[in-house]
Amino acid sequence: MMNRVLEKGVTGFSWICAMVLLGTVSCIVGYLLIKGLGTINITLIFGETDPMDALFFRKQVFDGLFPAILGTFALVALSVSFAIPIGLAAGIYMAEYCRGIVKRVFSLFFDILAGIPSIVVGLFGFSVAIFLHNYFSSRIYPCLLISALSLAFLVLPYLIRTTQVSLENLPEDIRRTAPALGATKLQNIFHVLIPRSLSGIASGVILSIGRCAEDTAVIMLTGVVATAGVPKSVFSNYEALPFYIYYISSQYSNKQKLLSGYGAAIILLVICGLLFAIAFFIKHRLTYHVLYKP
């Protein structure tokens, strides 16, 4: 009798859970869209400045999101360009060269790195900046470069892992054909293995771009500020979309400012959603190719 009740209850419970989850997500996204969709226009991004002037850096944008959007793009571009070469190379090393106990040690440390909270990585970036400031050059402060480096550390383990896994998942016959024909190990890696696992690697890269774009905890310790304008060099402070959203939510002065926060949140959501969809699409294409078009 008890079991009967339990079995009936389980189905009902899982329906409730699914509905609760769907309800919350639609509440969150819906609320944002209803409140913020009206604010999305050209003034939100460029303020009173002429868009063409802003895009060619002829004039400063004062109350628009343009500097924050540009800051986020600069930050992502910089940190990904640090992280990709190192991450892919380390991933290749892990999959193709590393064996035995060394491999176990390496992968343990990458797992630990992947688990470190982003604020701790931010604290690390901050203390490196202080350290360099004290012992190296007093011109170094938390800045765009330090943020980009810290973000690179944050996404490094994901890149290593996705590269390693997509290489290791290649079937054995693909792996052996080229060496059997006399190719060297490196030729095999660059001409056979990497092209075959490109979609897995690419989706890992895109997901780490998404992480760089959305992360707030790292950058708030390493140089992002509320108003800095367009970043002039990698050693200057900068603005970024996620920090702008956080800043507005904690200290908005008027309704106009608050509304621009909703606008910024929608823009960030769209950017991250797009990146995610692209990664998903690429991955999906990969399985499609492997399963149906050998």
Partner: protein
């Protein structure tokens, strides 16, 4: 040609060693910069003392309580929800609806944390404030509800992955015996994937403790030890995010590294315990 090959292979190795050394460097930096704390057992005193800057006491006990309460209560909300949703996706729900739900859950992992926080402040906090008529609504309860929404997608995907690992003959056997879907999940799938469920739970705990933005934006950041779930609190992560000390030599500033070290050790412990199950998500495929 040989030389170029060699140097490229050398570069692969250097990249891996560099990445490994970052893991060590992060810990090393915090220990060195927080070093004065370790003299004379001060570090352990910090863990049990309150935060009273006026009396020169900079204990982080309240923040430890804050971190534990928000993340554990968050897990209490998120765990049944995730279990229900993943059972829905894998077995109990209609096939097509389950697939749609899974797509949505995957999309949810891409929503920036700061957006959860932003909507939380303007949507959830006022509701909690009106509902309980206690304080500002920025409290442990609000933060843990939002945290639950944040960590659920990871847990759901992990659970439904381990549910899908149950060998098909087991499921066929249930069908052959005339068992229904509910019996299938209760008596076959859940017991079989118990290890996966525990692993997912531990991973989610790590994620919950490491999160900064939700606690920072929603929990109110009071440094007193909370009495109830409706009190405001501050987590270790929010504490690091909040402090902008002018004097880098001050004890107040050094406590940041104590927070960092605790968080680092804790997440390392979680990684180690998950690995000891040998069930890291990527290793099971």
């Amino acid at each position: 040609m040989k030389l170029i090959d060699r140097s490229i292979e050398k570069f692969f190795w250097i990249a891996a060693v560099l990445s490994l050394s970052i893991t060590v460097l992060i810990f090393g930096f915090m220990v060195i910069l927080g070093f004065p704390l370790f003299k004379g057992g001060q570090f352990f005193e910090l863990l049990s003392q309150p935060w009273l800057p006026d009396y020169g006491t900079y204990g982080i006990y309240p923040m430890i309580v804050g971190t534990l309460s928000i993340s554990l209560i968050g897990l209490v909300f998120a765990f049944p929800l995730s279990l229900g949703c993943s059972a829905f996706i894998s077995v109990l729900g209609p096939k097509r609806f389950g697939r749609v739900l899974k797509k949505i859950v995957q999309m949810m992992t891409g929503i920036p944390t700061v957006i959860y926080g932003f909507v939380g402040i303007f949507l959830l906090v006022p509701i909690i404030r009106e509902l309980f008529e206690h304080g500002s609504g920025m409290c442990i309860l609000s933060a843990s509800i939002l945290l639950a929404i944040l960590i659920s997608p990871t847990m759901i995907l992990f659970f439904s992955d381990s549910f899908d690992q149950v060998p098909k003959p087991f499921l066929d056997a249930v069908d052959a015996l005339g068992g229904n879907k509910a019996q299938k999940i209760l008596y076959v799938i859940l017991p079989y994937s118990l290890r996966g469920v525990i692993t997912g739970l531990i991973l989610a705990l790590g994620r919950a403790m490491g999160d900064t933005m939700i606690a920072l934006m929603i929990a109110g950041n009071a440094v007193a030890i909370p009495d109830s779930v409706l009190d405001s609190t501050r987590t270790l992560t929010a504490h690091i995010a909040l402090i902008i000390a002018a004097d880098f030599e001050s004890l107040e500033f050094k406590t940041l590294f104590a927070c960092g070290i605790i968080l680092y050790l804790f997440t390392t412990f979680i990684t180690l315990s998950v690995r000891s199950f040998d069930l890291m998500p990527w290793r099971r495929k």
